[in-house]
């Protein structure tokens, strides 16, 4: 019934409310997914401590609202927070619910795009017309050849990703099959399981990557936005000199400055924490440059006008400048997300303990395991590393491509 009313909305052309609905469903789905992830994170100790019947019983108690006495639980669970424990018990349900919400989101989105299509005639009609047009253009043979080549090239470009995902689902013997199988004859989660249980718990690394990435994005925005604003729109003595420092810093790559930074971090006893991966990335000269550019594009009259409207410094910043530079800030955040998530060299240099290493490094550990390279395990870990980026890209490809193109034009 809900679905029918949504459909009516789409057909009545209330695009705005449908958009909001899609967004809401996507957010709910994400929240549920995060909860199930927390459950997943605590899954190993919970599974080890509880027998299957015991777990079922506790689950039943949770559903019927009976109080669970935590003191009666096995001692191994003392380190698990009640919240994490609950999420872990309900992991299956959370995952299914989140998948349902994502599916619903997709369904509405597809329905919406179909509704748009229908306004321009039926699907078959569109296909037919496109085909007719295609073969009516001059030199369509050449065009067809060119397009087929393009598609082949496209497939070749995405093939490595396909190979990664497929290998991760193969058994170890099958991954070594000659000739290689293009489709797993026997699907298995063995590769993924190994990333949890073969001495390395990948979730810990996952956590480090997420923490570092989030911290870097927050820190960068916090530090760079005010600086870029001051450089773009305010006058003060020595401004030229200070901006000169930014330009000089822009020329010096991080790859060259790591030795002294490492020594200093060692002196400060920070090398066994996450800080060496976060702090040195706090201010990025290029980001300051780019943000300054976008602040500069805001006409001075708008600021003057706001001053005449009795707006204070803080209001000018929060109500006018930041909203107008939102897209530049999103772009900066996106760059630091991609950069930090994928970082390998910096964490390699800046960490001495497995507790603080990110995902990029664990993949390497998995390869160097004593049993020889187990490609299915390595590819499973790789998939976990690549997937979040790919997911973000799928949902925001236009925005991301625009951002990168802008970086090149500047």
């Amino acid at each position: 019934m809900l679905y029918r009313s949504i459909r009516q909305k789409i057909q009545r052309g209330q695009a705005g409310s449908v958009k909001k609905l899609i967004l809401a469903f996507a957010i709910i789905g994400t929240v549920l997914f995060v909860l199930s992830f927390i459950g997943w994170y605590n899954y190993v100790p919970v599974k080890q401590a509880l027998s299957a019947e015991n777990a079922e019983q506790l689950r039943a108690q949770l559903f019927t609202g009976v109080y669970v006495d935590r003191s009666s639980l096995p001692a191994a669970l003392a380190g698990v927070s009640p919240f994490g424990f609950t999420c872990s018990l309900l992991m299956r349900e959370l995952l299914i619910a989140s998948a349902c919400f994502f599916a619903l989101t997709m369904l509405i989105a597809v329905e919406k795009s179909l509704a748009v299509k229908q306004e321009n005639g039926s699907l078959w009609e569109t296909v037919k017309n496109t085909a007719i047009e295609y073969f009516q253009q001059p030199r369509w043979g050449l065009q067809l050849f060119s397009d087929v080549m393009k598609i082949v090239l496209m497939l070749a470009f995405v093939f490595p990703f396909y190979w990664m995902i497929i290998t991760a689902f193969k058994t170890y013997p099958e991954s070594l099959n000659v000739p290689p199988t293009l489709w797993p004859t026997q699907w298995t989660m063995e590769g993924y399981e190994n990333t949890f249980f073969s001495g390395e718990n990948i979730l810990n690394y996952f956590k480090n990557t997420v923490l570092v990435t989030a911290a870097v994005i927050a820190l960068q925005l916090l530090i760079m936005v005010p600086a870029a604003y001051a450089f773009a729109k305010r006058e003060f003595p020595l401004k030229g000199l200070l901006f000169g420092i930014v330009l000089v810093a822009f020329m010096i790559p991080l790859q060259l400055t790591y030795i002294p930074v490492y020594l200093r971090m060692q002196d400060l006893n920070l090398i066994y924490t996450l800080w060496p991966q976060i702090l040195p990335l706090g201010a990025d000269a290029f980001g300051i440059f780019m943000l300054r550019q976008s602040f500069k594009q805001i006409p001075d009259e708008i600021i003057e006008s706001a001053k005449l409207d009795s707006a204070g410094e803080v209001q000018i910043m929060t109500r006018i400048m930041l909203p107008m530079c939102k897209s530049a800030m999103v772009t900066i955040a996106m760059f630091s997300f991609i950069g930090t998530w994928n970082a390998y060299f910096w964490p390699l240099v800046m960490t001495r303990s497995r507790d603080v290493q990110p995902l990029t490094i664990v993949v390497e550990h998995l390869r160097d395991a004593e049993l020889g390279v187990r490609w299915n395990t390595v590819m499973a870990a790789n998939t976990l590393l690549v997937l979040p980026i790919l997911l973000v890209f799928i949902f925001a490809s236009k925005k991301i491509i625009e951002g990168f193109a802008y970086r090149g034009v500047k």
Partner: protein
């Protein structure tokens, strides 16, 4: 309601002096237009009143109170910018409301005023739109409403119509005049467009190179230009200026010249001319005429029968001839009799 007085005001940007030692009084409740070519210092003066471009030296008084160093938000003024400076991330309503909110005007009062002024500028149906959805003329109206809603005692406008197309500009000109009459507030309006200045102003302040060339009502500026600059700035095409000898020059406006095939009586100026070009403007025609001494002048006349490449008489009445001294200053209305006699000696 406010009167604004500049006392010995000067402004320099680095080494370039834009304005030096300027005195000016802007009358209370009048529509004053600061007009001049770009870079003449008119916008600088406006920004001084607003408090967003402080004077290097001198004082600015508003109703006798020194406001030279007062921050803009404490002055009782509102300003409309050339590019409107609409806040693009806020809706029309939020744009208008922003200044009131900052001044902590209570919500019911805010809503009342927004409704009132949105109605005045005809933007009520668009209150919840984003500025990016609106046309140039509509943005212009938001900027006006945003300024008016603060009920300022001085209204500052920096070329507010220059980004509109010609038709809309003419319509807005009339609306602005009406608005000023209705509000009775002091308006200070900056433009480089002499037609705008002439049509809207109670008082025109004509500026050039940081100096005031002439202050007066439009009639004064047109009929009694203080100097050659003033004479040539107002009117299209500009006044024809010719040499009389000994540094004295005389000028006649193109529309004051009488051009006929035959010589007429009772004129002070008679020259032979030859029509080089003829442009049809509608009600009138514009001619370019070569005089017998080789110089050319512009003439506006309704005579459609005069064709290109014909000989004509160029004539003007004594009251239409302006004489200027060697320093460019006008030598009294119509000029002293001696100069008219001297001009008569040159007649053909």
């Amino acid at each position: 309601m406010a009167e604004i007085v500049f006392e010995h005001v000067g402004k320099s940007f680095g080494d370039t002096k834009v304005i030096e030692n300027l005195d000016l009084t802007i009358e209370d409740g009048k529509f004053t237009v600061l007009v001049g070519s770009s870079g003449c210092g008119k916008t600088t003066l406006l920004r001084m009143i607003a408090g967003i471009g402080p004077a290097t030296y001198g004082r600015i008084l508003m109703d006798g109170k020194d406001i030279t160093h007062q921050p803009p938000e404490k002055r009782d003024i509102a300003m409309v910018f050339q590019n409107y400076a609409i806040y693009p991330t806020m809706s029309v309503r939020e744009n208008i409301e922003f200044g009131l909110k900052n001044k902590k005007v209570p919500k019911p009062e805010r809503d009342r005023r927004i409704a009132e002024y949105a109605e005045i500028v005809g933007m009520t149906p668009y209150l919840d739109r984003k500025p990016s959805d609106l046309s140039g003329g509509q943005r212009q109206r938001i900027a006006l409403a945003r300024a008016m809603v603060k009920k300022p005692s001085v209204f500052l406008m920096d070329e507010p119509l220059s980004n509109l197309d010609a038709k809309l500009r003419a319509a807005m000109r009339v609306e602005l005049i009406e608005l000023q009459r209705r509000l009775g507030t002091t308006f200070v309006y900056v433009t480089h467009d002499q037609i705008e200045a002439m049509s809207m102003a109670d008082t025109i302040v004509l500026m050039e190179k940081g100096e005031i060339q002439q202050i007066g009502c439009p009639e004064e500026i047109y009929h009694e230009p203080a100097n050659i600059f003033s004479a040539q700035f107002i009117g299209t095409p500009p006044m024809n200026i010719m040499e009389l000898g000994e540094g004295i020059r005389y000028g006649v406006r193109p529309e004051s010249i009488v051009m006929e095939a035959q010589k007429l009586d009772n004129m002070a100026l008679y020259r032979k001319g030859h029509i080089i070009t003829r442009e049809m403007l509608g009600a009138e025609l514009q001619f370019k005429v070569r005089l017998s001494d080789g110089g050319t002048i512009m003439v506006r006349s309704p005579r459609e029968d005069l064709a290109e490449d014909t000989d004509v008489w160029i004539m003007a009445k004594a009251r239409h001839i302006h004489f200027f001294g060697a320093d460019g200053i006008r030598l009294g209305h119509g000029g002293p009799q001696g100069l008219l006699d001297k001009l008569g000696g040159l007649n053909e």
